[in-house]
């Protein structure tokens, strides 16, 4: 059966690229893990002024919380509008197109825009607030698209049952569709956070500085961040890799655990919801 042997050869050739992808991943993982021994974990809670990472970690968390607080509600409400309310397909298409385009804007251009619009035009200066707004722009498309998908997966019959009982449209959606879609919506928010947690180019000119005295005391002060610190130390200061390994590793672990939890959550809830099993 030479046909089948030929087929095996073709599949082997197709399989090599996939193996390469897996090898790349394990290579990256192993490189980062080699550094684990040299990291001094007590530095996590030591101030940056004494060579620690405390302000960077907290600064990153501040940035993420604020950006989520902005992009989360806006994104989820936008998705609800697109799935449940949008009157014409034409309008939905235009908005969808805009969302996809926003997702495709290079982060450096978002950074440029954040600088001229938020920092200068709105006079926010290089600040936490400017960073929130800039990062929110990057999260928004991810949250909208993910939530949209989750909402579309909920059968219309759920909502119709509530409507038939006399509920208003918003009441019907918020009491049936939204709870059913909640795990998917949460997943999309986590994915959005993961996407911007390590973002550098967008906060480069808008909200970060290399070192601050303690944590920012107001949202109009600049902030320290893991990604920014790693970047500047390597590029501008030429710091040797050993010294920044801790920062890189902490950042990697934060981002990866966020994405991993989003992925696992998604796999889990797809199994848990019987109506999703029907293709």
């Amino acid at each position: 059966m030479s046909g089948q042997t030929g087929e095996r050869v073709i599949f082997a050739i197709l399989g090599v690229p996939m193996l390469i992808c897996m090898l790349i991943f394990s290579w990256i993982l192993s490189l980062l893990l080699t550094g684990i021994g040299s990291v001094r974990w007590e530095l996590l809670t030591v101030s940056a002024l004494q060579g620690g990472m405390f302000e960077m970690i907290v600064g990153t968390i501040y940035l993420l919380l604020g950006a989520t607080a902005i992009a989360g509600p806006v994104g989820i409400l936008a998705a609800i509008y697109l799935v449940e309310y949008a009157p014409s397909r034409g309008l939905t298409r235009i908005i969808d197109q805009a969302i996809n385009n926003l997702a495709g804007v290079p982060s450096i251009v978002i950074g440029l825009f954040g600088y001229t619009f938020f920092c200068r035009h709105l006079r926010l200066g290089v600040s936490l607030t400017a960073g929130w707004l800039t990062l929110a722009l990057m999260m928004l498309p991810i949250i909208i698209r993910g939530s949209e998908e989750a909402l579309r997966m909920v059968p219309a019959s759920f909502k119709e049952a509530a409507l038939a009982l006399g509920a208003t449209r918003w009441k019907a959606i918020s009491s049936t569709t939204l709870p059913a879609a909640a795990p998917g919506v949460v997943t999309s928010v986590i994915l959005g956070i993961a996407r911007v947690a390590g973002e550098t180019a967008a906060i480069l000119f808008t909200s970060c500085v290399l070192i601050t005295r303690g944590l920012p005391r107001s949202p109009l002060e600049p902030v320290m961040a893991l990604s920014y610190n790693l970047f500047v130390k390597i590029v501008a200061l030429g710091t040797p890799a050993q010294k920044v390994f801790g920062v890189a590793l902490v950042l990697f672990m934060i981002v990866t655990s966020l994405s991993l939890s989003a992925i696992l959550l998604r796999i889990h809830y797809r199994k848990g919801q019987p109506w999703l099993m029907i293709r």
Partner: protein, 307 residues
Amino acid sequence: MNLESFLKSLHKLFMRLKSQPVEFILFFCASFSIVILLLMFLFVVKEGSLAFVRLGVQLIFGQRWETNSDLYGGFPLVYGSLMVVSGALVISVPLGICTSIFIAEVLPFQLRDPVKSIIELLASIPSVIYGFIGATFLAPLIASIFELHSGATALTASLILAIMVLPTIVGVSGETISAVPRDYKEAALALGASKWQIIRNVVLPFSKSGMLASVMLGFGRAIGETVAVLMVAGNVAMVPTPPWNYLAPVYPVTAVIAMQMGEAAVGSLEYSALFGLGSILFIITFVVNTIADVIVRRGPVTRGVQL
């Protein structure tokens, strides 16, 4: 849709929104993306206008980029970007497309989710980490293989960038493969087609436009990537000699913007030139993404497509 009917439907929409506060809020959120996109275009182009007026096409075709002599010819930068991006795509497109086919059609079912998840994780690694890995591990490796002083070259940047766009290509092209109707696959199967024949005669013809879209989206990703590229490209604003020398350093557009924005005085020609380059980048990615989007949306047409 002609303008008049569009305006009419817009008017109708507003009348309805006035009476429905909930719907109004939701509509406001949904239209946010459009507003932001418009603002982005306006503001970035506005800041670049000085450079457009003073430099004209020199901003793209001028041969010398020397901040000290106030010369802002973007050609070496654009060339650097294109060099790095094409290098990355040459590596990642075949790898990515083969991988997506293999995952969707050959890989045992139980392994599909784990492999897809790993690729998704690969996508979520921040670019600064890729830059860190490139600068600390890949660049020395390249330097020692090719006996160079510095491993920060166009090749290094291409390799890192290839890894970074791989998940985009695998993801989007995988999606289009899974959109191939099961009916067609079963019909071919029942005729005695082998797996490979199904891939070649049913899957590929169906998903080739989606694969093209995945390449375009990969291009959009790659050309806009900043931090990782900057950390490994060497950052010398000259066209390499000879121009195809991938072992020479380059200075891609995005890297220049990131590196020089901090020093450029607001309102100066340099500042404006950086925004000018930024607006060109914005327009390129906008166009590429729009085309890719249209291709994907048109999707696997079941009517009128000739396999």
